[in-house]
Symmetry: C2
Subunit: 144 residues, 2 copies
DNA sequence: CGGGACTTTAAATCGATTCTAAAATGACCT
DNA sequence: AGGTCATTTTAGAATCGATTTAAAGTCCCG
């Protein structure tokens, strides 16, 4: 009866994912990985994830959360999204998509790539190659 | 023979612009305004502008540069561009356009709005209105 | 179980930005 | 011109998110 969500990554797929990524499945990485990868895609800041882990009874330092988020990102399990100066978001959705950013709440929401189109990209400056295209749709409460 | 540039904003248009924006034309704001608004459009960080001002013999504190950049932005004379966590760029081009961001050099370059198209925007989440759409094309040297 | 490489950690540090409260300045009035 | 007062600037301290440090802890292999 699968208590909740779309999730359904089988029993501790997290450990397998970590190993595949060349990361030792330590207690902390497993706990953070479960919070991040079991269930829906997520957008988190290091602080948020840290609070969440502790709230869930996992003892983990903020530095470790930063380390893990960067390691997961380097391993291609997540990606970093920059929307606000001075704060980093990490996104568990590594597929092709873009974002709504709610300026008041600081909340990010995915825009599936088939719901937006970027056309007619100019050629990259000489000597450079395009690494990624980010589209941020900034929204605010309608009574601004 | 007009020594350089497209500039040609007439004699101290900067003062008029400041007044129109409701900002007192102080020595510092005028000097920064000239660096920013006379000549081509620019992308600067606070530190860069501060260094440039001092190099030009203008005595101004970093805090004042930050103040001025925010005031100019609030007044609609500039806009802030977020491309890297932990660093703010300010852009003198307030028109509709997007950006190339060169990841190695930290350099920003405009993409005129007619050279890019964003279509099929999904509707904003309920209760919200779109404030802006930012497209960042991240490029790096082609031999990555 | 034992050893060594990899991890985690608390604490110190960093760079960017903001805040503070005091000193300086600009604009208005007469 | 001079006086006045709100606005602005400033140096320095403080804050913020993030990273680094070096020491303590853990994981994995035989």
């Amino acid at each position: 009866m699968m208590s909740n969500s779309v999730s359904a990554r089988p029993y501790s797929g997290v450990i397998a994912r970590l190993k595949t990524a060349g990361l030792r499945p330590t207690r902390q990485r497993i706990a953070l990985g479960k919070l991040l990868f079991e269930g829906e895609n997520r957008h988190v800041t290091a602080e948020e994830l840290h609070d969440e882990a502790r709230a869930a009874g996992v003892s983990v330092s903020l530095a470790t959360v930063y380390n893990a988020l960067h390691q997961f990102t380097d391993a291609g399990l997540m990606r970093e999204v920059v929307v606000e100066a001075g704060r980093s978001y990490f996104d568990t959705n590594t597929g092709d998509h873009h974002h709504f950013f709610h300026e008041e709440s600081g909340h990010l929401e995915d825009i599936p790539s088939d719901q937006i189109r970027v056309d007619a990209l100019p050629t990259a400056p000489a000597g450079t190659a395009v690494r990624r295209v980010d589209v941020i749709v900034r929204v605010g409460s309608s009574d601004s």
